[in-house]
Amino acid sequence: MKNKITIPAKLYTVLIFIILYAPIAVLIFFSFNSSNSTSVFNEFSLRWYTELFNDTATIKALKNTLLLAVISSIISTVLGLITATGLHYSKTKWYKKSIMTANNIPMVNPDIVTGISMMLLFIFVGTILRQSGVLGFGTMLIAHITFELPYVILNILPRFKSMDKNLVEAAKDLGCTPVQAFFKVTLPYLSAEIFAAFVMAFTLSIDDFVISYFVSGPEFQTLPIRIYSMTKKRVTPDIYALSTLIFVTVFVLLVLSNYSQNKQKRRESMNENSIKNNMKNNIKNNMKNNMKDNIRIFTKISAFLSIVLLIFSLSIPVSASSVDDYPINIEYYKNSPYRGSTLNVYNWGEYISDGAEGSLNVNVYFEELTGIKVNYTNYDSNEDMYAKIKSGGANYDLIIPSDYMIARMIDENLLLKLDYANIPNFKYISNEYKSLYFDPKDEYSVTYTVGYVALIYNTKLVHEAPTSWTALWDKRYAGNILMFNNPRDAFAIAQLILGQDLNSTNPDDWQRAYDKLLEQKPVVRAYVMDEIYNIMESGAAALAPYYVGDFLTMQENNEDLAVAFPKEGANIFVDSMCIPKTAKNKGAAELYINYMCEPEISLANAEYICYATPNTAVLEMDKYSFKGDEILYPDASVTEDYQYFHNLPAETQALMSNLWGDLKVDGQSNISTYIGLAVFAIVMIMYAIYAFLKKKHREKFYD
């Protein structure tokens, strides 16, 4: 049976593969970039492959991912095999049917529904047991087993059906007990399917993001979750390096196993050529072999890959700068009574010096000094963080919310009072950032960073420096304007233009601000948060409001960017370290706060995240590269009328989020969607009528 594949068919196949592999090529390409931009290629470098070894959080996430995948797939394979056996021999019809139906639910249900339903279950049980912080390794394991099991069962069950009953009977006749018969006959018969099921479970587990995202806690983060929090902020290319390594390993193994298998086949076919003359049989055998080969190859690859990755991840040394480099009171930290405990730190993404680009890895250094294990996880908005804390699903010992959120959390009794005797370094915090409105008596918070919102523009696209926020409404830049993708910051800009108080509780004010934003929508290219880095760095947009510290990071990758301080003023904010009520290790958290205020540590953070620091000792250091920087530390005359956000009353908050929802959802013209859906419905109905008529027509013939 010779088949001709025509040239167009070949071209088509090649085209599809090009599309499939283009994004992967991009990732591999940028893993060799020397700068940390993921949009501008500077020069070839292996830098990110070395950085990968220092990225403790990523390595830890990789280990966690593999650990979870191995354990969950073993459990689900064993449990699935047992269940399949029971189901196959069971004669209770309704029982079988109801298990199979339940079994189908996780496969048909969207992942997001499975994820939130399990999260709600865990939190629900947690509330009943009066336990907070239930989310963690245990819940992840349960969730993974739950979504793997249906696939395992569906993989094994059909093979059972094709098994000759007499095989087991014969074994029993020959003196086997049923259990022996199972191990000696059934198990070997099913081995290929069991392997396939295991591999499938393993792959599903490694790949899963959505379900894990909802049921994970601070102590146990997997690689996909880590990547997600990275793509929300900016992706450090060492993740690309890691993916490239995984990808290349899989690819090489595939090629190798395919090659050896082809050789083997050629040898086999030479011997057996004479026997196999029946065409149909030949095809059938090929098919079967093919399936089996696939399974074998896949098993080999996964086994190999996991071993390689395990060895790789276990053998990675974690390097921290030597202790001498950072003159701090080592004894104070060495002798703390919290050695051996764990500390769950919940911070904004990219908001700490993490060892990248030769900086100090603040968390690793803290672990070395104190012997306290730090679980460091990220959020990307105050509201995200608030939802996690409020749900009680996870326990955190240290959080870094912004001003208005601190006010809200104090109001709702979600924060603990700090013991400032344990934080002697509080003395370094500038008086300007002590006793702020949300914490007038300095009871709950220690200021970490200070910032305000400024107008960023690209000098190549915007020729005269903007002086007002109205530039973001300017039709000349239509389609080149970015806007905040969070309601509070977005509304603030409209409110500033309208001359309103940012903390107004008057519904009419908010309504007018909404109208202003709606007016802006047609010229807005996208509502973004941290995606802004790539877009502005690559010069793809002209104007954007953002936090001034982040502007400095962007400017490092694109010198055409400049910043303006609009005349209407802006929002100023502080992010402060606080301890939530659910904290399990308050003492260690206070030690950590004190450590973060150490001048040298504070300096490392200030250099890394480019935000203004409230630490007076750092501000005086000559080696501090932003010392006296006009953008980070503008003259008091510029910032005097800048406003802090306050916690809004519940009704105003609800109004704001409803208006924001309207802006995002209802503002769009949706007519084409409905027309499209209607056309589709008509086509389907016509098809149904056609199929029905045809069936009738045919039946007439057969009658």
């Binding site: 049976m1 994004p23 339940a102 992942d111 993916s243 790539n534």
Partner: protein, 272 residues
Amino acid sequence: MKNRTYNTISSPYALWCAIFIVAPLVIVAFYALTDKTGNFTFENIKHLSMYTDTIARSIYFGIIATVVCLLISYPLAYIFSKTKVSTQTILVMLVMVPMWMNFLLRTYAIMVLFEDTGIINNFLQKIGLSPIHMINTAGAVIFGMVYNYLPFMILPLYTSMTKLDNKLIEAAYDLGATGFQTLRDVMIPLTKSGIVTGITMVFVPSVSTFYISQKLGGGKYTLIGDVIEMQFQTAYNYNLGAAISLLLMVLILVCIAVMNKFEDTEERGMLV
């Protein structure tokens, strides 16, 4: 062994299903029908009408992505099935390998490709064409869906194509059928199971995605998955989030039920 013994063997899983599959759905329904203080209310359900546009858009995007996937994959799977067996193995592998690259990163890479100053537009400008605005459009979101879920369509189609006996196609031609008639009356009916599986595997994740619309849509194309994610992660309104999830679940079950009407198989369980 007695029937009861076998039922005992599978009972741990029955228990597992009850606790970790059925109970969570009951809790979702419970949250959907209560307010923050736990009192019974229809408020959340009433609130759903606010999201009509979002739901319509999600379904519309999902349908387009599924149809595009089907149109791309059907000829491709056919080509695959016509190559030599050893080539088939390689081709199938090549379809599966990209799935080892994290899905979030692949989507992120599409962003890099599609940017106004991204790789594709740079290339277009180099060869003297005008750049195309691709990122943050509905097209980009649908491309993201098609790209990420294409393997889920190709693989089941390929499996059903390999089961297709070539002689039937030859017979159709011998009896005077045109290419289109053969496709319509022979091939499609015989590969129906693959088509249905493929459609389910693409449609369900497309309708419920939130990552793709966030990254490629630039926050302008809110889909039902985004709304759910927002209620749970940011807005802290579990009750409304649960109500929307419930709606999404019902929607998908209805779609699958309708589709199963087209493919009348009695074999499998009740849902698939």
